[in-house]
Amino acid sequence: MAATERWHERTLHDGEWLRADFGNLTLVVLSILEEWRVAALYGDQRQILDGLNMPPDDLPWQRWDRGEKDVKLQFRPTFPDRPVIVRPRSALHLSPRAMANFFVGIPAFIELNAHSEGQYERLNAWPSEPPSNTWHGTPISGTLCYSVKTRARRQFIPEDWQELSIISTIEIANSGAHTLPFERLFFETGHLAVFEHLGRLWSNHARIRTGEKDDSLSGVVFGQKPFGEAANAVELTPPRLGRVRRSMLKEAFSTFLGVSHPHL
């Protein structure tokens, strides 16, 4: 199985430009004066391109130097550059020794790689949907994350997720002696690869086991392939932080603590 055309290598000679649509994001790439110029447009901003032979000068261009003979470029879907916070549609209580499988749609970032002196270089990555920031931790310490707007579901319903959402399957197992309230999950995506199956983006399957010894630590096991019928998907992008089999998440299921309310 081969990847769909949007992820194929493209050729852009000097003076040429292309427009690539990725859901709500449009990337305009112009090859000119030994430079790659790239502009990211969202939503209604894209109307400015209608009926034009050349992109206008006043687009929000970002520029990269290139060699005279560099003409190749390629788009790739990637996971966000920060961990994400995933929530189920409503809080779910997992009994001891119970497990549950969830489908999560994480909006992909679109990475642009282009030739520079004959070698592919990563230029930048843009979110296919402007992400929302959230915080995992306390006001004193924590991690800046992205918040996934669509809720985790127990079933795969393609219409629920946007075209450029990476469908991740997460199996949560409660190995502890207490019921686990699953209201939110801190999920590090750096060890997940992106695959394509029937035009949709998938990640490899992840299993999270919590409560075995320490309630604050959860073990994550990463599968090699996506879940279920997407198992024969073609890999588009390797994991950002490398391929590992096991990892640990700290306070993966904890809610935000330590916020003081204002004095009335």
Partner: protein, 287 residues
């Protein structure tokens, strides 16, 4: 030739002293630098970069002082006698250097306590700026309009210091008043949406919306939106604009006091001028 030099060396006390001084310098200075570097390496982990550097500097200066004393003793200075003779002067100097000592000791307290680090933004009195250097005697602050402010360490210990960038996230609080005609729930909903729509406002912790009571001519609200410390200015500028735009869109009125300014003359009674009727023509006269 070598024998001659050897004989000259052993017969000349001055040459022997000079060589001893040379040995003290050649061995002493590298040892002091090495100890200073090791001290910095150990203390960086405990006291941070700036604190480690500061204490390493103190160790280095103390080492140089010991080298100086050793060299002086080679030249026959009796340090005890010198110090005894300088006792009275020492007391006077001690009184004079009271402030300097206070600054030095305060600097050590600051380094130990670590209320801020180099690069933090702090508020001290009327000054706000970035910590450039924590020195032995004073802290150097670079204000946002690019002025360098030297604040004695003693002042930092005695006064309130606000470390603006201590924690990774901050809450930006805004106070807003709307007309008494507006529904409180609706205003709170619009405020929440305006905060949630701002890309730099964090989803969690959630924005805090509080109805602050009935003002003289407004319903008062407080909105507290959390953001990362890097995005504080972005939220401070962007959120009020978004709230104003949302209020304009939704037709929510932000009342403001009206003031009528008048000059003195306008406060006087309106002058009334009685104009006599024109004299009627006498009989027989023709107009």
């Amino acid at each position: 030739m070598l024998d001659d030099l050897n004989a000259l060396f052993w017969s000349s006390p001055a040459l022997q002293k000079a060589s001893r001084v040379l040995v003290i310098l050649i061995t002493g200075v590298p040892i002091v630098l090495l100890i200073s570097r090791i001290t910095a390496g150990i203390l960086h982990r405990r006291l941070g970069q700036q604190g480690g550097d500061l204490l390493a500097r103190i160790v280095r200066y103390a080492g140089y002082l010991l080298i100086l004393i050793a060299i002086l003793e080679e030249f026959g200075f009796n340090l005890g006698a010198v110090l005894g003779a300088a006792g009275i002067a020492g007391v006077a100097i001690g009184f004079a250097s009271q402030t300097s000592l206070s600054n030095l000791i305060s600097g050590l307290f600051i380094v130990g306590e670590r209320p801020f680090e180099k690069g933090d933004i702090i508020e001290v009195g009327t000054f706000t700026g970035t910590v450039e250097e924590i020195g032995l005697m004073a802290l150097t602050l670079r204000t946002f309009d690019n002025r360098s402010v030297r604040i004695p360490n003693e002042t930092l210990v005695k006064t309130n210091v606000v470390t603006v960038t201590r924690y990774p996230i901050r809450r930006i609080d805004l106070t807003i008043g709307v007309s008494y005609n507006e529904a409180i729930d609706r205003v709170m909903k619009i405020l929440r949406e305006a905060a949630e729509d701002h890309p730099a406002v964090l989803d969690e912790p959630e924005p805090v919306i509080v109805f602050n009571g009935f003002g003289e001519s407004t319903l008062n609200f407080m909105i507290g939106a959390w953001t990362t410390k890097e995005d504080v200015i972005r939220v401070k500028n962007g959120l009020p604009r978004r709230i104003k735009e949302a209020f304009d869109r939704e037709g929510i009125e932000i009342p403001f006091p009206h003031r009528v300014l008048t000059g003195n003359r306008s406060m006087e009674p309106i002058p009334v001028v009685v104009v006599p009727d024109p004299k009627p023509p006498e009989n027989g006269d023709k107009p």
